[in-house]
């Protein structure tokens, strides 16, 4: 990178709170956001739990009901997190001339709600009850709300959010696994570093939990079965439980360090490096690339926040990578993981971890990976950081993994690091 890029704002919406402060406070306690699915009757699904965020208040965000329908919950969460991030950065809630403001998001699928298509589907059934294209084409398709096709394009709601913010600059939407969040952050940092944007938002929004979306979760992840009260997801526990889908969004404000300091902005963290890899040893290769990307040589890591989704095999793979990255136990960093508390935020996972990394840098505290008391019966696969105030980590390595084996790593450092 030609110019250092820093984070000056970080907005977060999760199942544990509608902003970063509320989420952080809840993480300091013993709560998990996981709860039985409430949006629909999920009794037929193997996994019936999710960490569901509160429905966004479109009116409070200045979004009309019609636009809120098109944007959907995901992009409204994104807008909510973006507004919070901009406020923290001391930047306008809406730019008057946003041609030099970029916006890069990682978004998931926007699944049709069955109710959107139910009337058309019912009129499309033939005598045998099966779908009859002739009936559909004849007139049944006209039962579909004409703007519905926009509502299932994830980028359209993103554009509407950007329009609310007055953003007209460089942009992209990446999809749809956790690795997409790294793509968004990396490209945002790139355009800021190169001077193609004075400010760029980088973040993501999780998919809202819907019937079709939960179906895909079952194919893409090793989910935690059931909906009981027992601790559902315990990353790096020998019996980790499985993945819990999460909802919410996270957005970071990125600027060149010199410009941010010149306007007196508080530097929350420095984007110190990144790496992407796939296939065998991807976790190791991505991490090594991230740690050697900066001009100052290899970074020493004080805290590792890996993907840690709670799926036994993938957690074990990361644990093995940890031992390759830091073969000497006395020189190996402690580990933090939040998906046991917030669920798996999919494309928003990396930005959410980054927003929490900002809090860790600010407070010197690391939240517990598991709800209090969960998993006390067994030692974790990795040395999880002790909850509460600790060694005040200054350099943190974040890791994410897509639905298959696409991996990315991002290094963040405390603001005063040169």
């Amino acid at each position: 990178m030609s110019e250092r890029v820093v984070i000056t704002g970080a907005g977060l919406v999760t199942a544990l709170g509608g902003d970063r402060a509320a989420t952080w406070t809840a993480l300091g306690g013993d709560r998990s956001g996981a709860a039985p699915v409430t949006g629909f009757d999920a009794r037929g699904f193997a996994c019936r739990r999710a960490a569901q965020a509160a429905a966004p208040d479109a009116g409070a965000l200045g979004v009309s009901p019609r636009d809120a329908y098109i944007m959907g919950r995901s992009n409204l969460w994104f807008l909510q997190a973006a507004r919070a991030a901009l406020a923290e950065a001391g930047l306008p809630a809406a730019f008057a001339d946003g041609t030099d403001v970029g916006c890069f998001a990682a978004l998931g699928m926007i699944d049709p709600l069955p109710d959107d298509l139910r009337a058309a589907a019912a009129r499309s059934r033939g005598p045998d009850g099966a779908f009859d294209p002739d009936r559909f084409y004849a007139d049944a398709y006209r039962e579909i709300y004409p703007l519905w096709p926009l509502a299932i394009l994830n980028n359209v709601g993103f554009c509407m959010a950007a329009t609310c913010l007055g953003i007209r600059g460089e942009n992209a939407v990446f999809a749809s696994g956790a690795d997409a969040g790294a793509a968004a952050l990396i490209e945002a940092a790139d355009v800021v570093s190169a001077g193609r944007a004075a400010v760029a938002l980088a973040g993501g929004a999780a998919e809202a939990v819907t019937p079709l979306g939960l179906a895909r979760w079952h194919r893409q992840a090793s989910l935690c079965p059931g909906d009981g009260p027992e601790p559902a997801c315990r990353p790096f526990h020998p019996v980790s439980g499985g993945v819990i889908p999460g909802e919410g969004a996270a957005v970071l404000v990125l600027e060149q360090e010199t410009a941010a300091r010149a306007r007196g902005a508080k530097i929350l963290a420095v984007v110190a490096g990144w790496g992407c890899a796939g296939g065998e040893s991807a976790v190791v290769r991505a991490a090594e690339q991230a740690l050697t990307a900066g001009a100052g040589g290899s970074l020493a890591v004080d805290l590792w926040i890996p993907h840690g989704e709670g799926a036994t095999a993938r957690d074990a793979d990361e644990a093995a990578a940890y031992r390759r990255l830091w073969p000497r136990p006395d020189a190996a960093p402690p580990v933090a993981a939040f998906k046991g508390r917030l669920g798996h935020l999919g494309p928003a996972a990396l930005a959410a971890d980054a927003a929490l990394a900002v809090e860790i840098i600010r407070t010197g505290c690391v939240p517990a990976a598991w709800p209090d008391g969960a998993g006390a019966d067994a030692a974790p696969r990795l040395p999880l950081a002790a909850a509460g105030p600790g060694a005040a980590p200054r350099t943190l390595l974040l890791g994410v993994r897509g639905w298959t084996d696409a991996v990315a790593a991002v290094a963040l450092a405390a603001g005063e690091t040169s």
């Binding site: 069955p114 394009l153 359209v156 079709l212």
Partner: protein
């Protein structure tokens, strides 16, 4: 700090209604042939859309034979991506398992099959989520309940052993162009020396076909399918859907030279912008589109008078074609009068999220061979569209540099700048 590396194009792969090879697509484009035909599936006989640039059944069979393991389980668009990626890698002379090659593909929205709704309606017409949840194995093989946006990119990376990381861009019709631009940036940053980039999409299924009818953007007339797509013509009636894929190999120029690769052209610049106007219409002044073109020129270090050709987004919708014309005029000023502009969409339809892939390939070939394919079906120009759209026949002219435009629903604009391949080391 050293300058970022130049990025060159060393491999091309396509799957469109015109055919499964780049040579076939390019030959037909130059001859002015179209792949837009009546929908072949009798089940679509009553569709309000009667024509599309559908990949022929014979060509889909050929792809299925090449990737039998994927044919049974994957979406149609993923198969197109696999085919185009294989062709691009072969064209570039890159072996499978190139561990320093990443993948960036544009992808469309999830495939929603009406069967996946009707099957689980209860007798009262309500969707039975309980029964649905218990019967997930009955979902249609192409259903969005099975596949995420990133399915094509991850399948390509896995199939060809490309370990440099994957990215999927979902910005509607700008997706593939932004994916190629994102790959260009990754190489310039030094993240990886090689990227496979482009896009793949298909929405030729009942709900996909009516989507653009509901939005009022599709050409639904009863015209001859071959003349239904008419960019910049006063009789244009909307977009005509296509399907397929276009994938290229991008390389750090030094990497390409070191391995003796053939270079088609240099991808010299890329930029994106947002209209911040309306979700349903482009900015009528074309300000966002113009910003993307200006950004790409600046990134490439090109002055407007150094560009000879623009491969337009040119959808054939009333609003896009006028706004794009205004944008081109505002960027090129007096130079617009000598600029060749053409749309590739009458050749194989609007490939939606993938459109930037095949259109970028035709742009690269235009620069490489000093040839501009015509805009088909432009016989009565709209007075508001007053540029040289190369109507009629292919034009052989110097093409020193060219732009490839893609503008997405929602207001995301992207532009790629291509110029002649850089001279060999030691050359002039």
């Amino acid at each position: 700090m050293s300058a970022p590396p130049r990025v060159v194009v060393t491999g091309l792969g396509m799957a469109t209604a015109l055919g499964l090879s780049v040579a076939e697509n390019w030959d037909k484009a130059r001859r002015g042939e179209t792949g837009i035909r009546r929908l072949p599936d009798p089940a679509d006989a009553r569709s309000p859309i009667q024509a599309a640039g559908a990949v022929s059944a014979a060509d889909r069979e050929r792809i299925a034979r090449a990737f039998p393991e994927a044919a049974a389980a994957e979406e149609r668009r993923t198969l197109f991506a696999l085919w185009a990626a294989a062709a691009a890698l072969h064209d570039a002379g890159l072996p499978a398992g190139h561990t320093r090659c990443g993948v960036a593909l544009g992808a469309g929205l999830g495939v929603t099959r009406m069967e996946d709704i009707t099957r689980w309606l209860d007798p009262a017409g309500a969707f039975d989520t309980v029964r649905f949840g218990a019967e997930l194995d009955r979902l249609h093989p192409e259903s969005s309940g099975r596949h995420g946006h990133d399915r094509a990119a991850t399948c390509v990376a896995a199939r060809f052993g490309l370990d440099g990381g994957t990215a999927t861009v979902t910005t509607a019709c700008a997706s593939a162009t932004q994916a190629i631009g994102s790959a260009w940036r990754a190489i310039r940053r030094g993240d990886t020396p090689v990227m496979l980039a482009g896009g793949a999409d298909s929405m030729i299924h009942p709900l996909g076909l009516v989507n653009f009818v509901l939005l009022g953007a599709a050409a639904t007339g009863g015209d001859d399918p071959a003349t239904l797509c008419r960019p910049f013509d006063r009789r244009r009636g909307g977009l005509v859907m296509g399907e397929g894929a276009g994938v290229v190999v991008l390389e750090d120029e030094r990497h390409a030279r070191d391995r003796g690769a053939t270079v088609y052209a240099e991808l010299a610049g890329y930029a994106s912008s947002m209209d911040a106007y309306r979700a349903t219409a482009p900015d009528p002044e074309g300000r966002g589109a113009a910003a993307a073109m200006r950004g790409a020129l600046a990134a490439a270090g090109l002055a407007p008078d150094a560009v000879d050709y623009v491969n337009a987004h040119g959808t054939g919708t009333k609003l896009n074609d006028v706004a794009e014309t205004i944008a081109i005029r505002s960027v090129f000023g007096p130079c617009a009068a000598r600029l060749a502009v053409s749309s590739s969409k009458p050749l194989f339809g609007h490939l939606l999220a993938a459109c930037g892939g095949p259109e970028f390939i035709l742009t690269v070939l235009s620069v490489a061979e000093d040839t501009v394919h015509p805009t088909l079906n432009l016989t009565r120009p709209d007075p508001k569209c007053d540029l040289d759209y190369v109507s009629g026949a292919t034009r052989h002219q110097p093409v020193r540099a060219a732009l490839s435009n893609s503008f997405g629903f929602g207001g995301q604009n992207a532009c790629l700048a291509v110029r002649k391949r850089p001279p060999a080391e030691g050359g002039s």
